[in-house]
């Protein structure tokens, strides 16, 4: 069963018009994205900065109201829910942010941080809440000795564990992880990834894992969706995507990852230039200005096709 369904989601931000009689221009941050995440599954959402992945996450969390489309959690349309009903469902979608320090309140102790969502979203009483806090801290591998510490007394890895503990405290149906490891050092990164993998295995967590770190995505995700300039360009199981990437953008991204082995010769598919502005999006395929394989046909609207079971690609040339 699908825990999360995103259906034709669109998030356009209008810009202030300089010339009053002309229609204002819009930033097309997310431009018609559909995806599903099954229970117990981890979907990786991959793309470079500015591709709209964080905006998509904010729409999924109902932190912003999309200009079009629906977000369904367990078949319930969150975008149509009145505010009060939405608040009651918030315990079911939680989030872990990129910066482990900035996302913690410096004036709340570890225990108070993890207790907060329980107090807000669950009927648990004080004693039950504190019991639950100890349980969750144990689950993320933080000893009881750290309960009363404050964020500045913790290391970066410990802080990210507190963030994860806070996110899973209410036993949410879905956890959105927005680049949870990119601010961490190599060895801390490995620990946090292993923790996330373990929570998934032991508690059947469902993750939407947003990252530009493809090696982490490969380790943690069951399926991967690749996003470019507001749209999905390719979607497949992790094994399929990494072994048989089809879209030129996916192939370019994969070829950019430095492989820690001097004998692996780089197969480079190099994109020229930088990501264009989401205000002036090219017609047809959005990658065509940077794509080394671009043909005249790429200016036409791009069909999304299934090239293998569960493997969809939006490219004229595949």
């Amino acid at each position: 069963m699908d825990v999360l369904v995103v259906d034709d989601l669109q998030m356009h931000f209008p810009l202030r018009s300089i010339i009053p009689w002309r229609a204002p221009r819009v930033v097309r941050a997310v431009d018609g994205v559909s995806l599903r995440v099954a229970a117990g599954e981890t979907l990786g959402l991959v793309g470079e900065s500015g591709c709209g992945k964080s905006t998509l996450a904010r729409c999924v969390l109902c932190l912003v109201e999309p200009t079009r489309g629906r977000v369904l959690l367990d078949d319930e349309n969150l975008t149509a829910l009145p505010e009060e009903a939405l608040r009651r469902r918030r315990r079911d979608i939680q989030m872990v942010f990129q910066d482990p320090t900035a996302s913690l309140n410096p004036r709340l102790s570890v225990a108070a941080t993890v207790e907060e969502p329980l107090a807000l979203h669950t009927p648990l009483t004080g004693a039950a809440r504190r019991g639950r806090v100890d349980e969750v801290l144990e689950e993320v591998g933080l000893g009881a000795g750290l309960r009363d510490r404050y964020p500045h007394q913790l290391s970066g890895g410990q802080r990210q564990r507190v963030n994860i503990a806070r996110a899973i405290a209410t036993r949410p149906r879905l956890v959105v992880l927005d680049e949870p490891t990119s601010a961490l050092d190599v060895s801390l990164r490995a620990r946090v990834i292993l923790l996330l993998a373990e929570l998934k295995r032991r508690m059947g967590m469902t993750y939407l894992f947003i990252s530009h770190d493809l090696s982490t995505v490969r380790y943690l995700c069951d399926r991967v969706a690749v996003m470019y300039l507001g749209v999905l360009v390719e979607e497949a199981s992790a094994a399929e995507l990494f072994d048989h990437p089809a879209h030129p953008y996916t192939r370019a991204l994969l070829s950019c990852i430095p492989v820690p082995d001097p004998d692996v010769a780089p197969v480079r598919l190099t994109l020229s230039g930088e990501v264009p502005s989401p205000i002036d999006i090219p017609t047809g395929c959005r990658l065509r200005g940077r794509c080394p394989l671009a043909q005249p046909v790429c200016a036409e609207p791009v069909p999304v096709r299934e090239i293998a079971p569960g493997h969809t690609v939006a490219c004229h040339l595949v």
Partner: protein
């Protein structure tokens, strides 16, 4: 081969309220002319402090307690500030981690390159503008005339880093120190920047010291690698030897701790934590995290050759 840069036994301490932070403890490394050397390690291993010490950019409370830094046969630690100014930026230049904050926000980027060129006497003032634009073109910036008039906040992170590289190479330095030059950039932009650095390095004959925690970058871009842990240099090796036969237990743990895109090697975090630089253990600072630790590890560790140019500071490591 004579070394272009030879750092020997560098020791740097910081006096803080909580005590003396022993940031770098007897670090050594050599770079030959035109060579690309990677300096790798976790954060807090002393990589950046070593780089700043080479450029003599450390300010109190940092103090260089010992060691020699020889550049082109000259002891940099003995140079006067005046002499240092002729080396810094002209013969050794540096590309920093956060390009946007390293650029002056109130001067157009072209103007910053012009000032640098004039300051180092690279070109006469009236040719500076033209040369600056030319340099922007050389580092792959489109419409260089227009970009030269823009400010750092008009440019993307990748473009700022290109400007920094243009500035670093403007004076034809013999050594370029790149301190995590691609951190914070997207993968495709990072690859472009690394290509550019490698390319320009080859073309100008400048040696490059790559400071990074990304072993992938090291594998693809470097000739030799120096591994640092908690302020100590622990292994020196040609890039192939390091990846195929890592000798130091720390290097082995570091290699096992990275998730792989190719292959399915299990990922294991490095055991334990980086020891506090306030009270580091005596001898090998990795000993308390090391599966091979023994009593000798508490004494100063001798450096041994394990084959060719491959050296390691470990009593337990086996020769390959």
């Amino acid at each position: 081969m004579t070394d272009l840069l030879a750092v020997q036994g560098l020791t740097v301490h910081f006096a803080t309220d909580e005590g003396v932070v022993q940031a770098v403890d007897g670090a050594s490394l050599q770079i030959g002319a035109g060579e690309v050397v990677g300096l790798v390690g976790e954060s807090g291993s002393g990589k950046s402090v070593t780089a700043l010490a080479i450029l003599r950019l450390l300010r109190p409370p940092a103090r260089v307690l010992g060691g020699r830094i020889e550049f082109d046969g000259r002891d940099l630690l003995g140079c006067s500030e005046e002499e240092m100014r002729a080396v810094r930026g002209a013969q050794i230049s540096m590309v920093f981690q956060s390009p946007r904050t390293s650029l002056n926000p109130v001067l157009p980027v072209g103007h910053q390159i012009e000032r640098l060129l004039v300051q180092h006497g690279a070109v006469p003032p009236r040719e500076a503008r033209e040369r600056a634009v030319e340099m922007l073109r050389e580092v792959g910036i489109g419409e260089p005339e227009r970009r030269a008039r823009q400010y750092a906040h008009h440019l993307s992170g990748g473009m700022c880093q290109r400007v920094m590289i243009a500035m670093a190479l403007a004076t034809n330095p013999r050594l370029l120190i790149a301190d995590e030059p691609t951190t914070g950039l997207d993968v495709s932009i990072a690859a472009q920047i690394l290509d550019l650095l490698g390319d320009l390095g080859r073309r100008t004959g400048a040696a490059i010291l790559f400071i990074t925690h990304d072993l992938g970058v090291v594998a693809r871009r470097c000739d030799r690698v120096v591994v640092m842990h908690a302020g100590q240099t622990v292994e020196w090796a040609p890039v192939r030897a390091l990846f195929h036969a890592p000798a130091h237990p720390y290097t082995q743990a570091l290699l096992r701790s990275i998730p792989r895109v190719v292959g399915t090697g299990e990922m294991e975090p490095i055991p334990g934590w980086v020891p506090s630089p306030l009270a580091p253990p005596p001898g090998c600072r990795f000993a308390r995290r090391c599966p091979l630790a023994r009593t000798e590890c508490e004494a100063p560790v001798p450096v041994r050759a394990v084959g060719g140019e491959h050296r390691v500071a470990c009593v337990a490591a086996e020769a390959s």
